[in-house]
Each structure stands twice: as C-alpha cells, then as structure tokens.
Symmetry: D2
Subunit: 286 residues, 4 copies
C-alpha cells in the first residue's frame, strides 16, 4: 500500500537559504545570481517575485557550497556585495532547529497536532514550552514530555517566552491578546490561527457569526500577529463547504480540522523560510 | 472518450415538486408523508431539514401520481390536509419552463455562460429579455436571438421586467441596485452574483479590496437580492486559491470562472426548486 | 477570538439512531415514519435516499422517545412493524462508546491524530488496542496510555482484535493485508485510508506513481476494507492541488494532512452511524 | 458592486516571453540572467524550476527592451549566447494572436465557453475553424460567426487544420482520436479535456465508470494529446465533491462546469506561454 518514509524525508532542508528583498530595478536578478556565484554558491532553487504595486523585489534562494566552502566566509563575501546592491537580506543555515512556544487556551486540537508533528520529526523544531491561561491542556504537554506553564496574567507571557529562548511563537487557539511589546519583539515570528476566512468574521465567535449569516463555506486563516487583532499578514487560508445541515457545533467540528492543517502548514512554511512578510502581506514561496 | 448526453439528460425534472415549511413539531414527517400518500402521490425523493434554532421544519418532495391522477385534483386534496397541518407550501409542475431576465452591465462572462446553457437546454428556462445599463452586451443577446433592452434609468427596470413577464431575475454582474419595489415584487426571485466570499468584501471593487488585504483565497457568492446590498440569503459560494503571483487583474480573471459557475449553479438549483429561503438564509436540497 | 467549546459539543449524539434499507416501493417513507410514530418515537432528523439503479431505499433517522419511553420496548414494537415492512435495520443507542483498534506500520501521523481526537473527546470511542507490525509507534501508544501490541505474524492479528473486543478496526497507514476471515468477521467495520484518490494509484507507492504520472492533484480515500485490496466501498475522498514544484517528498508531506483528515472524518461518520454500505458503495448522510 | 474591466485587463501580455530549458548545471541562472541583460533586456518576471529527477532546468522569463531595442536583434544576440549555453529555447512576442481550431462532437458546453471567451477578448486568440464529426454544433459556430466544418472522415481532419493554418488545436469534448501524424505535427499544441481525474477512468464513459465505483469526487483533466489515448502530459486538473445523491446524469452536469473551466484554464496557460512540456509532464508557471 505505500512507501515507508523516515522522519527526514525532505521535510528538513539541509541547505543554506537566503531570503532577500530590495526596491525593484532592472538587472537585479542577474546581479544577485552573480553575487551568489562569485561567493562560491551554487543555486539549487530560486524563486522570486516582483510586487509591481509596491515596487519591491523579493527572492528566496536555496544553494549549496559545493567546494566545501564555509557558510561564514560566504556570509562575509556576500555581505559586501549585498551592501553594494542595497539588499535587505537574511541567511539561514538549512539545518538549524527552531525553538517553539505553543500558546493555547482550552481547546487542544492544534496543540496535539503540533506536538505530534514535532514528535514524528515532521517539523524541524523543538517545543521549548507550552503556555496557557488555563490548565486543561497541561496533560497534553505532559504526554509529550514538554514543559507547561500556566500563566494567568497576560503581563507575564512575554517574560516566559524570553526565558524559554524561543524563536517562534504559535498561537494554537489562544484566546487572549499578546501585549504590544511582545508582538513587537517577536515581529513576524508570532503565528496565529483564526477560525474564519479573514477578513470575514474577525473577532469573537466566528463560527457563530458565520452560522448566523448563513454562509456555505467556512474557513481558517493563519497569519502573523500584529498589534491589530486579526489584521496581520496572511500566510495561509483554506475553506471547506458547509450546508444547512451543519449547525454551529458542526461548523466547530469541521473547522477544527481546517484550523490544525492550516496552522501546521503555516508553521512548516515559516520553518522552511518560505514566507517573506512586507507591507502587511506575504510572499509564500511554496 | 465519453458518453453522449442529449439536452434532456436529467437536467429537466419532469416530476411535480412540493416545497413546504412549518413550525417544527413531533410527527410532522409522518403526517406529510401520509398526506401525499392519501392524495395518490408516490414519493420519489424527499429531503427535509429541521432548523432547531428557528424551530422550523422544511421539506422538498419529488413525487409522481402513478395511477394517472391529475395534479390539479392532488393540489385540491393536499390543500385541505395542508391547511389542517398549517403548512406554508408551494406545488410546482416539474416540467414548467421559467422565463428569465438577465441583467448585465459591461462584463459579459456570466451572460454568455447563461445564454449558452439555455441554448444547449441545460437550464429549463427561456431568456425573455436581457436588460443592461450599457450597450456593450447587445451583441451577445443578438447572437443568441434574445431581446435586448438598454435601460439607462433605473426607474424603468421594474416595468421592463413586468412587461417581459419574467419569473426569475438574474443579476449577472449588474452594477446597479434594483429599486426596493422591484426587490419586493420579485422576493426570492432575484439572484445576484457577488464577486467575493461574502460577508468579506461587500460593496464596490471586491477584488481590489481582497488584493489589498493580501488574502490567499478569493470567492464568489450567489444570493437572493434584498433591500440590503450584498446581505441577502446565500445560495452558493465557492472559492479558489490565489497567491502573491496573482495581481488584481489575475484575481479578476480567476474570479470570472468562479462567478459564472457559482451563478449558474444557483440558477440551476432555483429552477430545480431546491432552494428554500427563510430568515435571511437558505436550505439547499442538492 | 472565539468560542469555548467543551469536549461534548455536539460530537457525541445522545439520541437513538435507526438505520434501515429495503427494496424501494411506493409509500415506504410514510410507512416508516408512521411506524416510528406509533412506537412512541419523535423524528428529530431523517435523511433518506433512493438508489434507482439498484432499486433500494435507505434511511437514517435520529429520534427521541419524549414520553420517557424505553428504547428496548421501542425496539420490540418497531421490530414487528419492520418485519411486516421487510426492512433491513439496525437500532443504535446514541450514547454508546465504541471500542477501536488502530493498526499502524511505521508512519504515525494518522495514529497520533486519532489518539489526540479520542483524548480530547472528539470521537465517541475508546482505543482498545494499537496493533503494529513494527515497534516504532509503541511510544505513541504509550504517550496516550493505550495498549500496544507488536504482532509480526499477520495470522495473529485477528485473534488480537477479538481479544480486545473491538467494534471498529482502523487501518491508519497499515502496510499489510488483513486475512480474509478477519475482513469477513469485521465486514463494514474495517476502515482503511489509502493515499490516493482511488481508483487511481491503487496498490503500492501511490505518491511515487502519482509523481511519475505528473498529476496536478493528489488525494486520499477512506474506504471499508474488503477482500479486494483498495476496492472496498468508499466513504470519503479529498484532494489537494500540487504543482511541478512538489517532488515525491512534498507529495508525501502534503498527503499526510489529507490522509489524517480524511481518515478521521470517515471514522467520525461511521461512529455517528451516518454510513450505510451496500453493493460496494456507500450512502453517507452527512 | 464592482470594478469595470475592459477586455485587455492583463489577460493579453504585451511583453516578449522567453521559454528555455537545458540540462541542469551550476551557475545557469546567473548565466541566463546575464545573457538577457547583455542583450538589452530587463527581466520583469522570471520563474524557473529544476527537475532533479530528470536533471533538467526550465525557465520562463518575461522581459522588456526598455531602450527601444528591437526584438529581432535581441533574438540574434541572445541566440549566440544561447548556443554557447546549450539552451533549448523559444522566444515569443507577447502580443501575437494565436489561431485556434476547436474540435467538438455533440456536446457544446466547452465550445460555447471558448467562443464566448474569445468574443469577449479574454483569450488572445482567434477561432480559425470549428471542426466536428457531427452537425449539432454548427449553430454555435454560426452564432459567433466562425467557420464550421463537418468532417465525417477522420483522415480529413489534419488537412482541415493545415488549411486553416492553426497554431493550437483544442479538443473540446471531441469523441474521436486524432491520427498519429496530426498528433505529431501539432506536438504539444493539441489540448484535450478528459472528463475524469486521470489516470482514473481513462477511456470511454468515465462518469459511468466513476458512478459504478462509488467515488466521492469527480474530476476533469486537460492534457496535451499524444499517441497514447489519455496519457499525455497533464496541464490542469480539478475536482468537485459528489455524494450518493448524485446519479450519473448529475455527475455529467456537475462535470460539465469542471470541464469547461479546466479546459479554458489550460488554453489560457498555453496562450500565456506558461506551460513547458517535457518527459510526458509539464511545468506550469502560473
């Protein structure tokens, strides 16, 4: 019936990844390609996009250093060229492991899903801490041997994240609002799942709103959290058809599957350095 | 490669169809089934729904009169029982042909699609008139030999509809608002296509709004028009995925295919008497 | 951001459910409705279907016994009527809990997903045993406190299932074939997930087959297992779009999310008594 | 309610488009970018893909010649470099108009759809001829003022295509098989729509096959025709959910909408030079 795939099956990229953006101008593709080539890099996969409205060029490049070149010295060499080309850029080792915080309230479906994926090696990440304003999901964290912190005062959340030295914060159906300074400190590193196809049904109880409106599709949206609730740059969205036979409880039930898949996909894309956020929108090189 | 299907392949239902609704109460399914049986009818297909929030029972029944019974006498007999059961009901001959008005502005994709479907016999309807506030699509109507009326004053539209003796009004990307008295006269008989997944991006230029928000899905919504713009009961919705590679023109282009399919599906469902509207929502027995 | 829903939110139906089928004939809807009514039952939700090709009538009815009637005496009364009407029927208490066996090979994603859902109370079931031809997933079972049996000889599986007194067997990416006598003993109670949109790519390594063919969609299929591999009655299918950017590893990764959602949905539908299998096909009253 | 978009809204690309492929090797991206830059071109949009299985690099580049350079002299200059780089390449003016042949049997939905799109200016093409082995759809061609040829002998089709000097042949539910020499002469320029998600249900009567198998999704596949029936490189596929409520006639009806949208999308992608076929598969730069 099927292939046996180990935990390392392509999920975890071992190659260095360069993400860059700059004001668009003629010749930029050639210049960047040349700069990488001159730095000893061999482009394995390049994806670029020009946003003509905002006149911005964005690119993601996977490359290797075939002659045993060091990434550090590539970084130095490329840095000089990048300065010359006025690039906004980041260079990530492909094999880094990211430290995750998962924040959750009472519902555990996204939490269980993420814990399972990490346990199976699907995500190149470790769960540094699970934080909740409730105690219900302590058992889930315990099952997977992950630290759990019950924090009732919102003001203490930022400190817990810093203490756990996390790289990425996942709001896995977390029903509280993060403090603006936390949002700011983890800019484009806080992923929230909202249980509607935003911008429809922002705010509280979206499935109730959706049912009251009589919609025939419901959705879920993963986005980077910003100071404006439910208004941050969208990473992924997906929907599922519903009918008059679905009541609110059924919306909730069907929505759960969407939420966990859409959130996990957004986390995966982020971990693969496939998401570039700018101007409250994203380029997703999938 | 495939079957040959004539124009009559199941699209056009030849059987009488009963639609009914009433306050929900115990025993109603049995009572209605008995009433049809007593009236000489044989239920071929029945679909019912109980809206527990609004405490309403709704049902669609296709039946035949196997012993050569007349539909008129069935109507009389059933009427007595229905009064006794306090039903809100309609009985339609299955083989009626509906007279359509198609209202359109400059864009012709939904118009061409509907004209083609009628020409091929996919829809059990005739196009009585195409009405437009522009002259661009006159040629489309002419190609299909259908009357075209260019009406620049909104006040004259209702009269044109009445004059053409239409049963159903289809707003096929009609960029004007119907007068409230027309909406009222054709209550639940005006189908509009809105080019977003409502309630997101109601109002003007939804693709521009959607692109500005950076969404990853776009949609289309067919609904019965009411006095409140873009707020009537939803019949069908569908969406398609988009990415950063799609600009507004690409949203428009992809959206067109959605719009024409979603609108045609809503019209088809209406013509098959599969839609029951109540409380600003619909039950769609598909 | 959203509603708080406890584990019991509508997932677990507390109402008795009657499933029945019989050769189609006039008056059957009325007769069944009358039989339930006479037995003291009040129909809350009824869904029926007539398969005109196979001339079969199938129905699912949720009802309650409002005057404190007993289900056992209802069963007796209804049984007499059912015999008279020549019905093939089953009556289930709504609040029963089903005992599950989950069979798995090396990959754990469907297993983790099901264990999480049971732990959260999403599924009205208990996992009686996890059976595997490998030891890899023992840790998953252990995390959720569920018995794990490593069985290397296929001949011993049936005995393990019987010993655990299971009602439903879920093949959650189980790469072996069940013995015919097991299939027969658990007829329509073994749900398999196949990682393609059957009948395309039956058999081994479907993602490799799909990639070799250059398809633009991949899928997953949940079906009741029969003696013919990958040919049993289909319960659910879903697909996701892929592109040239997806290699086999990416097919596998995207496919995993499909597999777990489609399998969980099939299990849920089965547990809600929404699936009626006949003639190697299903009616799914969702 | 919405934007007014003229017929030229981005559908018709005015820019030159270069498609190329070559055996993959280090530095190729930089070399091609440099070659275009040296030829006086400014890259507006570039999309590339490396097929690691077949070790092939493929790229599509939209560019302009900002200093009023001539495309002919660019072609000459680039040709020298391309020879040096061992590229397999084509260069198309963006504003060319393609001559289409549409082949059809009895069913007209794809034909009407394509005729409407051409009439509205959605497709940068003209319909040079409609060819059919039946006379039914002559009226459709006539409505749009397009030549219609009824050809009963398959042997005469190739000659009719040549006589009409067509660039692209669209099999819009054409139930005959083209002669191998025609396939060969129009290699990767014959687009067929098959009414299933291939490779499931190849051959005759796919909806009947699908219904007999009891599937829960049906699909449509647009592909370049090859000598092997239904086995050519796939351009687009899409599916729609079905249920037990859908009989074969309903499969046909729902399938029609899929077929016309999927076929039109494939034609659009081909006309935009977004499809590169190789090794019986396609790269689609959408």
């Amino acid at each position: 019936m099927g292939e046996i795939i180990g935990p390392m099956d392509g999920t975890i990229e071992a190659m260095p990844i360069l993400k860059l953006s700059c004001p668009d101008r003629p010749g930029i593709v050639a210049e960047v390609a040349r700069a990488i080539f001159d730095g000893g890099g061999n482009i394995l996969d390049a994806d670029q996009h020009t946003d003509r409205v905002h006149q911005r060029f964005l690119q993601r490049i996977e490359f290797d250093l075939p002659d045993g070149g060091s990434l550090d010295s590539f970084r130095d060499d490329f840095g000089d060229l990048a300065a010359h080309l006025d690039l906004d850029w980041t260079l990530r080792r492909g094999d880094e492991r990211v430290r995750l915080a998962i924040l959750v309230s009472k519902q555990g479906h996204c939490l269980y899903d993420l814990l399972g994926r990490v346990a199976m090696g699907e995500l190149a990440a470790d769960v540094a801490v699970v934080v909740s304003n409730h105690t219900d999901q302590g058992v889930a964290a315990e099952r997977f041997g992950v630290p759990f912190e019950h924090i009732s005062s919102e003001a203490d959340v930022g400190e817990a994240l810093d203490r756990a030295e996390v790289d990425l914060v996942v709001l896995a159906r977390y029903m509280r609002i993060l403090a603006p300074d936390v949002i700011d400190r983890y800019r484009n590193r806080v992923i929230n799942i909202h249980h509607s196809f935003l911008p429809a049904f922002a705010g509280a109880r979206p499935y109730h709103q959706a049912h009251a409106r009589g919609v025939k599709v419901i959705g879920a949206t993963a986005h980077y959290a910003t100071e404006q609730l439910d208004e941050g740059p969208i990473i992924c969205q997906d929907v599922v058809s519903v009918s008059h036979r679905d009541d609110v409880a059924s919306f909730v039930r069907r929505g759960r599957d969407l939420e966990m898949v859409v959130l996990a996909r957004a986390v995966q894309l982020h971990l693969d350095h496939r998401v570039l956020a700018y101007e409250n929108r994203t380029v997703v090189f999938d």
